[in-house]
């Protein structure tokens, strides 16, 4: 049977040995495990941050481009509306002009027709008046059996016929 240490007690050599071993484990852990791992994680975080930055820049670009396109689109749309409106206005104006012209022409046509009719009627009335006065003169000559001097009696008969009533 060999020797045993006391259950509760500190042996200097064991303690020194444990201390050296613990320090060895510590330095190995720091140099070979946690150091490289932390470096790798930091690198990866840097890469992730870079990627996020790039993505953010791309997103900003895209948003700017989208805003520009939207603006252009709305400008084009309003321009189109403007053009359509102007065309409508022109068309309406032209239609109004045409209508006015037509109405004017129609009115002129009507007026001329009316004048023609009036002239015709006057002419007819004058002819009729001449015929009637001649007839009356003949009739009165026959009645008084006396040749009336048409040149002296004509104004008398015209006055009589005018008194008889306006034939127009």
């Amino acid at each position: 049977m060999g020797q045993f240490e006391a259950l509760v007690g500190v042996n200097f050599w064991t303690a020194l040995f444990v201390l050296l071993n613990t320090l060895l484990v510590f330095f190995v852990a720091k140099k070979y495990l946690t150091g490289p791992i932390m470096k790798i994680i930091a690198q990866r975080q840097q890469e992730i941050a870079d990627t996020y930055g790039e993505a953010e820049a791309a997103k900003t670009d895209a948003e700017a481009m989208q805003a520009e396109y939207r603006q252009r689109l709305s400008a084009a749309k309003s321009e189109a509306t403007e053009i359509v409106k102007a065309a409508n206005a022109t068309a309406a104006q032209q239609a109004g002009q045409l209508m006015d012209e037509a109405q004017r022409e129609a009115a002129a046509l009507k007026r001329r027709a009316e004048q023609d009719i009036e002239a015709e009627r006057r002419k007819a009335a004058m002819e009729l008046k001449g015929d009637i006065s001649e007839l009356a003169l003949t009739l009165a000559g026959k009645v008084v059996e006396k040749e009336l001097d048409p040149s002296t009696q004509q104004s008398l008969i015209d006055g009589f016929l005018d008194d008889l009533g306006d034939l127009s």
């Binding site: 060999g2 020797q3 071993n21 510590f26 495990l33 490289p36």
Partner: protein, 297 residues
């Protein structure tokens, strides 16, 4: 039957400098050291930022867990203490669990081991205090808040490493003692039971074997753990009782089979892990107390 509770066995003594004893603690901690160093070097190889292997992912997870623990309890300005805490934690848990191999004694069941770690923490704290406040400032710190408190402060400064060391050592060594006591008690109990069975004649053994076999057969219908346990126990008692009656074997510690495993789960695995965690958490808290955030002043 007596149980000798002793410290670690001294394998041999190197006859220089007044004799350097090579104890069980020395050997088991050397194995832990070699194991951990090999593990660290192997795990720290072939790391890559963009295509981490499964092994690297796990290692990163483990390191980051300790890193986060350190940051949450010590603050981000103390994150450089992570390797030290990993060392303390892994040395402690491996030093405790190596006792479960059966060939080696738990290194942490030796006060020499835990006292060294506790004193390392204390020396770090004292070093930080002297660095931050100067030697005079450190001594002056003992007289705060009032000069009367000086003896108390000195005692608490000494009590801190002592309590840390004894807590860890006591839990692991105590667990080992309890396990030994349990093994001894169970082997005594099984000797007594087997003596009783063999003295009663072979018929009792036969009945026990039949009952055990019956219980095990019944378990094929109903899956119940109790049936398995009692079946095995009864069958084992019957077989070894019969063997002792026939004079083939005697004093087989039947009861010590399986039962101590349940308690060993608590006293060796759970206690070892918890003490490692407690030790490293206390180290973090104490060291953080001596490393104030430089940005807060």
């Amino acid at each position: 039957m007596t149980l000798n509770v002793t410290g670690p066995f001294i394998y041999f003594t190197i006859p220089i400098l007044g004799g350097i004893p090579i104890t069980q603690t020395t050997v088991s901690f050397l194995i832990v050291t070699v194991l951990l160093c090999t593990l660290f070097v192997a795990l720290g190889k072939g790391l890559s930022t963009d295509h981490p292997s499964a092994r690297q992912t796990l290692v990163e997870k483990g390191v980051m867990m300790m890193h986060d623990l350190v940051v949450s309890s010590m603050g981000s300005h103390n994150a450089h203490w992570t390797p030290f805490m990993i060392t303390i934690f892994l040395c402690s848990i491996c030093g405790s669990l190596i006792g479960m191999t059966g060939f080696f004694r738990s290194a942490t069941a030796d006060l020499s081991c835990t006292m060294v770690w506790a004193l390392m923490v204390s020396f770090i704290i004292w070093h930080n205090n002297i660095k931050n406040n100067g030697v005079l400032g450190w001594f002056k710190g003992f007289t705060e808040p009032v000069a009367v408190m000086t003896p108390m402060n000195i005692v608490s400064e000494i009590a801190q490493p002592v309590s840390m060391a004894f807590r860890h050592f006591g839990n692991v060594a105590g667990g080992g003692v309890i396990t030994s006591v349990l093994y001894m008690g169970l082997s005594m109990a099984s000797t007594a039971v087997l003596n009783l069975i063999s003295a009663s004649g072979w018929l009792v053994s036969a009945v026990l074997m039949a009952a055990g076999a019956g219980l095990l057969l019944l378990r094929r219908r109903k899956k119940k753990l109790s049936l398995l346990i009692f079946g095995c126990l009864s069958l084992g008692l019957g077989i070894f009782g019969l063997l002792q009656t026939l004079g083939v074997l005697s004093g087989v510690p039947v009861l010590a089979l399986g039962i101590p495993a349940v308690l060993s789960c608590y006293f060796d695995i759970f206690s070892g892990a918890v003490q490692a965690l407690v030790f490293s958490l206390l180290s973090m808290v104490y060291i953080a107390g001596s490393c104030p955030d430089p940005n807060e002043d």
